[in-house]
């Protein structure tokens, strides 16, 4: 099945649950869905299209909004599901009911962007230390890392 | 005079000094052969051909910081390496290396010394277990449990295998067993199976691959030795080296026809035969991968112990036919 046929099928199948489907390159489909429909679309894709493999979840800080991309892949094509949530109220539903392997990526998302994933089975921080100051989310654009002064132990300067 | 002689026996030959030098040499030999099996160089640069490397390691460990865990039973923790060393050195005294004359054997040779020696050789295992347990580290505890578990596997086959030549020789005395096979070397052949079983069991006793389970570094870090450092670790390593010499000497005396000849020839026999046994142990080490502790037990009880019993039966039958 080529990408174009697949897009037609997806459009007729999912209807207006998907806001936008684009195909910028071969084997790359970008679907845009509303955050509250994410789990439904994921489940539907898993059951009807065999989309079981989640490569990763990447988040981008776009200023006012967080853009979250779920990168799925199947032998036919890659699905990248995009959703946007407001920075003021960063809540998203967990997709672990559909894809159990998503938990690590969702934990990373929580750590790095401060997005609250509702219904995540394991909400502990993944990569940040326990004494990490609350409210610091490193991959947000307004978080700046200050490089510490280089000190050479026992050195002259 | 007798006191001086006894002291010389104890301290110089075949006592501590000789055992120290010879065991470090054996460690060098073992490491070198192991390295050559694996296309490596082994110790090269300390002393000629790296001969001094084990001594250098020993001295280096002696000079290292000695850390004792807070929660450990400190007295037991400190005293165990010394007891271990004493036990294996005592076992070393029983080796028939210096009993040149069977009619007038030294005061350490007596009827039943083979049993005493086997007993002394099982003590280090218990000492290891105590050392592991007293250091209270999690990894040590697991290692200690593994030491004891393995003990139940290899000890019985080892005893059965070592006793079968003794039964054939009709003696419980190492010097007499050695002398018996000296007279009738062909009778060594029926003991071949027992020799192989004893080799495997000794390998397990010395905790070398494939039986290095109690201190399998990739699984439980240092295992029994996790908390040991500095002087105590050095003594433990020396204990293992001496145990290697003593147990290979035991196998050589029992299965390879003893160490006949006078002082010099007998000593050369001793060296050649123990090195041969160490070579075989080293080969076994290079040949296999580590197995799990449950596999050790099932291997020992499914194969080693029945085979050892079979060997014993065969020897007893053979003895009936012999004049």
């Amino acid at each position: 099945m080529t990408d174009a046929e697949l897009i037609e099928k997806l459009k007729s199948d999912l209807g207006d649950t998907v806001e936008e489907i684009s195909n910028p390159a071969r084997r790359r489909l970008f679907l845009k869905v509303a955050p509250q429909r994410l789990l439904a679309v994921t489940t539907r894709l898993r059951d009807a299209y065999g989309v079981v493999f989640l490569s990763t979840i990447s988040g981008v800080d776009n200023g006012e909004m967080f853009e979250i991309l779920y990168h799925f892949s199947t032998p036919e094509t890659d699905y990248n599901i995009r959703t946007e949530i407001p920075k003021a109220n960063p809540h998203i539903d967990s997709i672990t009911p559909a894809i159990p392997g998503a938990v690590l990526y969702e934990r990373e998302l929580q750590d790095m962007f401060g997005i609250v994933v509702d219904g995540i089975p394991d909400a502990r921080p993944l990569v940040l230390p326990d004494d990490w100051p609350a409210g610091n989310f490193p991959l947000r654009k307004d978080w700046k890392h200050e490089r510490p002064q280089e000190v050479i132990p026992g050195g002259k300067s | 005079m007798a006191v001086v002689r006894t002291l010389l026996y104890l301290v110089v030959y075949p006592g501590l000094l000789f055992l120290f030098l010879y065991s470090t040499f054996c460690e060098w030999f073992d490491r070198k052969v192991y390295a050559r099996f694996q296309n490596r160089m082994g110790p090269t640069h300390t002393g000629r051909f790296g001969l001094l490397q084990p001594i250098a390691d020993f001295v280096k460990l002696l000079s290292k910081e000695d850390v004792v865990p807070e929660a450990a039973d400190k007295r037991l923790f400190a005293v165990l390496p010394i007891i271990g060393l004493a036990v294996v050195s005592t076992a070393g005294l029983l080796l028939p290396v210096w009993n040149f004359d069977l009619a007038n054997p030294g005061w350490t040779s007596f009827s039943g010394d083979i049993i005493v020696m086997l007993y002394l050789l099982s003590l280090p295992t218990l000492i290891l277990f105590l050392a592991a347990w007293s250091s209270t580290n999690l990894f040590s505890t697991i290692g200690g449990a593994r030491v004891l578990t393995m003990l139940f596997g290899y000890e019985v086959p080892l005893f059965l295998a070592v006793l079968s030549p003794a039964i054939l020789a009709n003696s419980w005395r190492l010097a007499e067993i050695a002398a018996f096979y000296q007279r009738k070397p062909l009778l060594l052949l029926p003991n071949l199976l027992a020799f192989i079983i004893a080799l495997i069991a000794v390998q397990a006793k010395l905790e070398r691959t494939p039986f290095d389970i109690p201190h399998a570094e990739t699984e439980i870090v240092g295992g029994t030795f996790t908390e040991y450092s500095g002087k105590k670790l050095a003594l433990f390593r020396l204990t293992f080296d001496i145990e290697l010499v003593v147990s290979s000497g035991l196998l050589a005396a029992v299965f390879l026809g003893g160490f006949p000849g006078g002082a010099v020839v007998g000593f050369i026999h001793f060296v050649v035969k123990t090195l041969f046994v160490i070579f075989l142990l080293c080969l076994l080490r290079a040949l296999t991968s580590r197995i799990r502790v449950d596999q050790v037990i099932s291997f020992a009880w499914k194969y080693l112990a029945p085979l050892a019993v079979l060997q014993l039966l065969a020897i007893i039958l053979l003895k009936g036919f012999l004049p």
């Binding site: 050479i152 050195g155 002259k156 300067s157 | 052969v33 390295a35 050559r36 099996f37 694996q38 296309n39 490596r40 160089m41 090269t44 080969l283 290079a286 040949l287």
Partner: protein
């Protein structure tokens, strides 16, 4: 399943030469394109700062000593250098002002000894000049 399949292999190796190189006593030859330590040919450098801009480890520092005399100072922090040779690729001159040698034993006990610096006069490249245009008198590397 067989027993002791490794045996012939092990015994054969007993008589083979070790595969190990006795390193500090014998040394291996490195290939001719080995990426070692970067160094500067001061007579070719036009101080365009392309290397400084592209260096991923920020190991190159170029500062102006005297703008009127066109004297520049370049410091290569070999303690930060990751030996990627991007500075050589980025260098626009022909022949290159930045080059790599094949030294690999540069470890030492003090990070400050790893700094190399040059004070030099900016070269003015003539279009087809084969010889370096500027005098290299000020170009002694100091450590």
């Amino acid at each position: 399943m067989k027993i002791a399949v490794f045996l012939p292999e092990l015994l054969r190796h007993l008589f083979k030469k070790p595969a190990t190189v006795d390193y500090p006593f014998k040394k291996l030859e490195v290939p001719k394109d080995f990426r070692g330590t970067p160094y500067l040919n001061p007579e070719m450098c036009i101080a365009c700062r392309a290397c400084e801009r592209d260096c991923p480890a920020e190991a190159i520092e170029i500062s102006s000593v005297n703008e009127a005399e066109k004297r520049f100072r370049m410091v290569i922090h070999n303690d930060r250098c990751i030996h990627c040779a991007q500075c050589v690729d980025s260098c626009p001159t022909t022949p290159k002002a930045m080059q790599m040698d094949s030294l690999f034993e540069i470890a030492c006990d003090d990070r400050h000894k790893l700094k190399t610096d040059w004070v030099y006069v900016r070269a003015v490249l003539k279009p087809k000049a084969a010889a370096p245009a500027a005098a290299p008198q000020a170009a002694e590397p100091k450590t």
